[in-house]
Symmetry: C2
Subunit: 220 residues, 2 copies
Amino acid sequence: MVIHNMIDAEKGNITRADKRADRTRRKLLSAALEVFTEYGLDATTIEDITQRADLGKGTFYRHFQDKEEIATCLVDLSLNELLERLRNVGKLIKTLPEAIEHLLDAHYKFFLEENEKFILLFQGRLLVKLERRISEKMEGPYERYLHELEHLLAPFVGEKIDPMKIRRLACAVAGFVFGFFSFAMIGMEMEQVESSIQPLRQSFVKSLSSFLGYLPETGK
Amino acid sequence: MVIHNMIDAEKGNITRADKRADRTRRKLLSAALEVFTEYGLDATTIEDITQRADLGKGTFYRHFQDKEEIATCLVDLSLNELLERLRNVGKLIKTLPEAIEHLLDAHYKFFLEENEKFILLFQGRLLVKLERRISEKMEGPYERYLHELEHLLAPFVGEKIDPMKIRRLACAVAGFVFGFFSFAMIGMEMEQVESSIQPLRQSFVKSLSSFLGYLPETGK
DNA sequence: GTCAGACCTGACTATATGGTCATTCATAAT
DNA sequence: ATTATGAATGACCATATAGTCAGGTCTGAC
């Protein structure tokens, strides 16, 4: 909610005008998510967004500075949802492979349930090359994501984890989930997908564990 | 080579001017491949290309109509290389799973050896959503690719293959290779990658075979 | 009912990119 | 050496998109 209405804000009241502004902002965000995943970040124009939201062009600039800001905002929101899932550990985790299992599960469910948001976060390019014309603002949330990954895995790795390793791990996980998606593409039933992905999952978890220096014998 | 020089062309001679034009054209193509994979198709401008090629902007339009044409040209060239690999079957193929094995191998090697070209062909989006702002010209080579895939697989499938199935298969294969790439990203040795990808490969080949109606017992 | 304040609007301006063309440069024939 | 032909050039124009703002609309207080 954009707070221009200082009188009401000071009173701590939520006026109908505030609600209206909030609705408009939401409309813009949801429209932007749609067109971004449809046309891609670069190809969408501000008017694509406002037309999809059925609003005037000027309205966009009342809520966001530019395309980058709304994109960052969407990335932030989507990332928060993903991180929430990461933090929300079901069962107790004792080993690194278990932690990585959980990591995969969270991403994989996020992909299934919030497809557009996943695509926004891991939009092709991020996977394919690391150095790109990525704006400063866009790097922020991504750093946060990496930091959170480290936080999740650190307890199960002896020494401090090399930041480059975290980065690569992140790419690998996103790649894995997209790879998993390739199974879904051939129109298989979900149960069938789950079972055929199983051998890959195990192999992948093992690879990632040893990549982070895990030794099966010692359990460390 | 752009032939404006009719006198020499009629003579069947290749003049130094022709060679020069050809060199320029190649410079443009190679510069375009670089910037396309770096910035993405949408984000690159004509000047990005000419600057990278160290040429004047006007020169671009002497060789290509617009960005789309050079992109299509690159896609065509890259596709031809990929199709060449597909046609170049090493050993005799007798069953559908063997054909799919070969299909995977070709894509996988193409990805490793011609990374930029692979990325150009399967640029993120194609994977993620099928309906997009894809230009007519871009669809052409892609249709050709699908047709060639059908040609490769048809002998091992009884009835005619549903075009939609071919489309999905194509997406699945590209997705698989990107997924495979996720292994490579974590900095593993190539041999290690090959062995950890093995269970996945088998499972994937099986899934694709049955997706196309293959019954293991009958061998058809 | 009316008035102030905040939201929304779309015509307008500025800028960046696409695309053109008169000119310059390189080549090859005489 | 001269000249004709085609390649390369970059200043230039046209267009599309970013971003602005004066004016219209909605809301809530009095």
